[in-house]
């Protein structure tokens, strides 16, 4: 009787533990399936013209997404310009100056901002930068992405500043440096590697965002000179081409997907390898 029960318990043990292993490896397999599928499908359609040519009119095959690649770079540049300083300075405040109550409020608000759905950020950027001037623009898209960059940059900055040993600060202050000189010349350089990696990670995240660009940057089939016109972006093109009805556009969507996936994953891979797992800012 008791041996039957023991056998039962042992088999439950074996079955359930195996299932957990299957679940873990199953999820990892999804990653490799996605990668393999994109390399196979995108690789076939990727060619030199993809990087150098403009999209062709409907019905004419060939062409590329040069304008979308440049558009994405311009949007990322704006996002960095808007988001990184705010995230960095606020992170310095939280790590070095912050009091209790106000710092808590800022931290909480940052988490909140990080959790806002990207489409809602899009609405926000629309009301700030599109509605008043009545036209879509690169600027508005950059603003939307810039807002999304802030929380991740702030988190990384704060964490890496806190990881700088107190003895470094004390050493600088003992030599007579004021607090801000200590921060600017000793603490920040010591944490620079981590902070820069965190910034790159935050840019890698917004590089793939589509939803906030739908009604800010809008998309464009031509070059977009300057900053105040609608612009194409890689994720927008993928979306537009994927839901279209043309096989040729589908092929290009796969190619663009491969390029985007490669950029985002390589940036993540590089940053995370450089940091090691410990001290990595949480993406959630």
């Amino acid at each position: 009787m008791s041996s039957v029960r023991l056998i039962w318990r042992k088999s439950v043990n074996a079955v359930m533990l195996t299932l957990t292993g299957v679940a873990a490896f199953g999820v990892v397999c999804i990653l490799f399936l996605i990668l393999g599928y994109f390399v196979y499908n995108g690789g076939r359609s990727l060619n030199w013209a993809f990087f150098t040519r403009l999209p062709t009119p409907v019905g004419e095959s060939g062409g590329g997404m040069a304008n979308a690649i440049i558009g994405s770079l311009k949007l990322l540049f704006l996002a960095a310009l808007i988001g990184l300083p705010v995230g960095l300075m606020a992170g310095v405040y939280l790590a070095e100056f912050g009091g209790k109550a106000f710092a808590f409020v800022i931290r909480y608000t940052t988490d909140l901002l990080n959790g806002v759905p990207s489409i809602v950020i899009g609405i926000f950027a629309y009301s700030l930068a599109v509605a008043p001037v009545k036209h879509f623009s690169t600027l508005a898209g950059g603003l939307a992405l810039g807002i999304m960059v802030v929380p991740i940059t702030l988190r990384a900055t704060e964490e890496f500043l806190r990881a700088v040993p107190g003895s470094l600060r004390e050493g600088a202050m003992a030599l007579g440096a004021s607090k801000w000189r200590t921060i600017a010349t000793v603490v920040l350089p010591a944490a620079a590697g981590g902070i820069i990696t965190g910034m790159l990670l935050s840019l890698a995240r917004v590089a793939g965002e589509t939803a906030p660009l739908l009604f800010t940057a809008l998309g464009n089939r031509f070059w977009s000179p300057g900053w105040s016109q609608p612009t194409a972006a890689l994720p927008l093109m993928i979306y537009e081409y994927a839901i279209s009805a043309y096989d040729d556009w589908h092929r290009q969507a796969w190619a663009a997907g491969l390029v985007l996936l490669a950029i985002v994953l390589l940036a993540n891979l590089g940053c995370r390898m450089a940091l090691g797992r410990r001290g990595m800012p949480r993406s959630s």
Binding site: T20, A23, L31, F97, L113, G115, I123, A211, A253, N268
Partner: protein, 328 residues
Amino acid sequence: MSTTATTIDRAAPPEAGPRAFIRRLRDGDEIAHVVTLVFAAAILLITSLLVYELWMDSRLSRAKFGWDFFWTRTWDPIFDHFGALPFIYGTLVTSVVSLMIAVPLGLAAAVFLAELAPRRLSDGIAFLIDLLAAIPSVIYGLLGIFVVVPLMRTVIGPALKAVLGKLPLFGGPNYGVGFLTAGIVLAIMVVPFIISVSREVLLTVPGDQREAALALGATRWEATWQVVVPWARTGIMGSVFLALARALGETMAVTMVIGNDPKVSASLFAPGYTIAAVIANEFTEATGDLYLSALIELGLVLFLMTFILNGLARILIVATERGGGHPS
């Protein structure tokens, strides 16, 4: 009064008051303090402005429809009659379906990583799973359209119909796009979050809990399921809320596979619509102020839903990581 005030001022350590503040400003430290403070306050400003804009820009719709907005099934841009019910329904259904798939899968994987796998293997897999979380949502949408939808039409759908076809939940025609397809794609997207947060929470469970259960003769699985997981349950709930908040706000992937049809249907095979998807599709085409205002009110609803869930998740995760989640 003035003379006494100055003497006290000199004797006392620097404290609050505008004059003392301005005096301290002259040191570089205070300038640095104020400058960084301004940037920190900017975050507060951005977030309040976000809420303010959503609230103000949706006032037309709020004034016209009031609370009826939430119960109305019609979405008719031509006659300017807008109700949010189909979208709220679609958002909730897709999110619940995704959690039904992602929670068991994610929890099992987290248990494996935290309890069974050797540390290096566990770290390696967690690293790969973080990469999975970094994949942009439009990429998942692309896979959804060209891989999941055909699979749904030819394999998963017919199989489910053969087994459970009698239930209204799996009745009706199967187009490939719909609630279930969106739920499956969402599940793949949120499972990394459940795994990575749950694993961290499970790793904080003290080793003596495990050892005590094993010493009493429990099998490895019994120790895990009856001792370790209950200990960490608040944090695991936190990870689920976090995943739910993600799923509710997810836009691109869902828009591409849900079918974009504002209907409330009992069948999971039926095409539907979500809040984020309707904003993505119709925002640029919204002619008329009321139309735009109704879409922005939907954005406000979405914002409030994720706001509440994120807040709850954060509280639960912090509670467990501090060890307060366990009823002593």
